[in-house]
Amino acid sequence: MPAVALFVTCVVDQLAPEVGVGAVRLLEAAGATVEFPRAQTCCGQPACNAGEPEAATRLARHFLDVFEPFDAVVAPSGSCVAMVHHWYPRLVPDRDASRARALAAKTFELTDYLVAQLGVEDVGARVDGTVTVHDACHGLRFLGVRDAPRRLLTAAGAQIVEMEEPETCCGFGGTFSVGHGEIAGPLADDKLGHAAASGADWLVSGDAACLLHLEGRRRRTGIGPTPVHVADLLAGGLAS
């Protein structure tokens, strides 16, 4: 059985633990053995994107130390995995850059790992209803994650109804969502509006931070289907 280390992400650990529970259940349902390295914290992306590479590097080094021993690292976030792939080799210099590249090569987004690495589309979950998928930016553009969540959902029996502009940003953007709430809010409205127009029961995505931003907006406006993480939705459809 393949063994994977779960990088649950700080957002999921602290704000959306059910997504981590879902990720573990899906990985186990797909036949993997999951380990959770207790020393893990955050990938450092908030600092990197804010323009604070020194702070980001400190966390990148910690991440390297924690996850280097494992054969595979899986996270329920395309954005955090993209951080490892795209930025780590540039944050840690010289000798450590090759360590970072080696780590990136075995660090995977959850749905991508299930479908492309384990070759599992049917995890044994049953999802009734219609879903529309928001392609979270970093998973899509840095990692090429597009089909994997759709395949998993389709195999679970969900009907996918594509919304307008599934690949357009939801407006989260990390520190942007605090520094520019005046734009982030309307961008969430655009995404929720498109999702509502699709008629789907669920607005599914692979990044908890985007979903918390969308749900936070939806709680103000009442518009749009319920945002839910793909791991949470699928795991909810597993026989318990």
Binding site: R61, G179, R217
Partner: protein
């Protein structure tokens, strides 16, 4: 600056809020939605084409000063008067002086971002030279006393009714709110200006170093008229518009039009090889080319060199979720959208302009993806956030100039391309001693240890646990210090009553079953 401020606000955030609240603007901006194509949908081979174009641009940039010298020599040989302007002020002075020396009084102008950058129309008007924009969109914003809000579609921020209202002031009778009628009126109205003009002002989309060919890409034919009717033509060409070979146009020209408007080629492509020669029936008798630097050459060899590859297609604006909501004026800069967020601070020689622009991005990467010359726009924004982080005016290049180029990336002309920003290290280029850096540093030190992470998250959860029931998620509506920007438009999630790791431990102990 004589331009009317139409999106009020002292800060970018305030202007963005005004733009979002402007109902007519939001209505007009829906016209941008149909520009949400990528060149890939026009041309299947776009990925190959853009890789080729990116290589061509990098080849020229790697040795830009030499290519500029060569261009100057070739233009000189064609009888073109070549001027080099280090600053917008110098460029204005040169052009006003040309007009005075030649005794010119009536100028027609084709669309050019470089002339916007140097505020040329205002300078000519102030010098007593009647200057009329002849691109319809540019004409609309000129009459309105504004500046273009989009480099390809300058008046995209206006509804048709607003356009009719603006142009009304120049028409004899009322103008119908109808595309064709307004266009027909403008054609007539502008034709008289073309015929009377003695000075034609243009930009230059490309200038070929081997043949000295100046290339103008337009859709309305106004660029043609600006170059064939007036006795004198002045082309303002930023230095990075130099391309190494005329034959490079085979790649760059279709890529520009595909990315700009979805056309395989524009309605007009004007190619000018020097002033009118004996026996030729049209073209300017006198042709001046003003090569504008304005801080560009100092980007060569830095991590920001890639920005000089830009061919001003506007694709990054069209796909940018932020631009599509706030439009160009909110940026309060000549260049807007993702490329403007990068270029504006880089061109600010005194380090004061565009400082808050790089922060106004979700870093979604749609711009990087759309760019036909593979400029890593989102990465450059991240780098600028670092290089601009010190309070007060700061030269973003301070940490870049003199920095060692990354090992193995000393490129020779013709060697092909490699993005410097992708390979140059991000850290330790400048000591950080301001509030934001200190805050992130403290946070990172805490979270680089499991115990620090545990302590700080426990503290955060304590607050949220008040009144919380186990296992439920709670949302914060009230303004929280430091989170005001979030809670102004959205509820904020409170830390979960039990973290994932608590639940993992509970499962391991058999207290919880998943």
């Amino acid at each position: 600056m004589s331009h009317e401020v139409i999106t009020p606000g002292d800060t970018l955030a305030a202007r963005a809020a005004s733009a979002v609240a402007d109902v007519e603007l939001q209505h007009a901006l829906r016209n941008l939605d149909r520009r949400l194509f990528t060149a890939r949908t026009v041309e299947e081979s776009f990925p190959h084409l853009k890789a080729r174009a990116a290589a061509l641009r990098r080849e020229t940039l790697a040795d830009l000063p030499a290519w500029i010298d060569r261009t100057e020599r070739v233009l000189d040989g064609l009888g073109v008067h070549v001027h080099r302007a280090a600053t917008p002020e110098a460029a204005r002075r040169i052009i006003v002086e040309i007009a005075r020396t030649e005794g010119l009084t009536r100028a027609v102008k084709s669309k050019s971002m470089a002339t916007e950058e140097i505020d040329l129309a205002d300078a000519l008007t102030a010098a007593g030279i009647e200057t009329v924009e002849t691109d319809l969109g540019e004409y609309i914003v000129q009459v309105a006393g504004e500046r273009p809000s989009h480099m390809i579609v300058p008046a995209i921020h206006k509804t048709l009714a607003q356009v009719a209202e603006v142009l009304q002031t120049r028409a004899d009778g009322p103008l119908p709110v109808e595309h064709e009628a307004i266009t027909a009126w403008a054609r007539d109205h502008l034709r008289a200006r073309f015929l009377a003009a003695d000075l034609g002002i243009t930009g230059g989309n490309f200038v070929a170093a081997d043949t000295g060919t100046l290339v103008l890409v337009t859709n309305e034919g106004n660029g043609d008229l600006c170059t064939i009717i007036p006795r004198v033509q002045v082309a303002v060409v930023p230095v990075e518009k130099v391309i190494s070979r005329f034959s490079d146009l085979a790649t760059l020209l279709p890529l520009l039009t595909m990315s700009a408007t979805g056309q395989r080629i524009s309605n007009y492509v004007t190619m000018i090889n020097g002033p009118r020669r004996a026996g030729e029936i049209d073209g300017p008798e006198v042709l001046h080319v003003v090569l504008l630097d304005h801080g560009r050459l100092r980007l060569v060899g830095t991590a920001y060199e890639d920005m000089l590859a830009c061919i001003r297609c506007g694709a990054c604006l069209n796909v940018c979720p932020v631009f599509r909501r706030i439009s160009g004026h909110a940026y309060d800069a000549v260049y807007s959208g993702p490329m403007g967020k990068v270029l504006t601070p880089l061109l600010s020689l005194d380090g004061t302009e565009g400082r808050d622009l790089p922060g106004a991005s979700t870093l979604c990467g749609a711009c990087t993806e759309a760019c036909p010359v593979e400029i890593p726009l989102a990465d450059l924004l991240v780098r600028l956030r670092t290089d601009l982080r010190s309070p007060g005016p700061v030269d973003p290049l301070a940490a870049e100039v003199g920095a060692e180029p990354p090992a193995g990336h000393d490129r020779q002309p013709g060697e092909g391309f490699g993005s410097r920003v992708l390979d140059s290290p991000l850290v330790s280029r400048r000591p950080a001693r301001h509030v934001r850096s200190t805050a992130f540093d403290t946070w990172a030190r805490l979270w680089a240890t499991p115990s620090g992470y545990a302590r700080s998250t426990r503290l955060a959860r304590l607050g949220a646990r008040v009144g919380a029931r186990r296992g439920t998620k709670h949302w914060i509506r009230a303004r929280v210090p430091g989170l005001g920007g979030w809670t102004a438009t959205r509820d904020a999630p409170a830390p979960a009553a039990r973290s994932f790791r608590d639940r993992w431990d509970a499962r391991a102990d058999g207290r919880e079953h998943w």
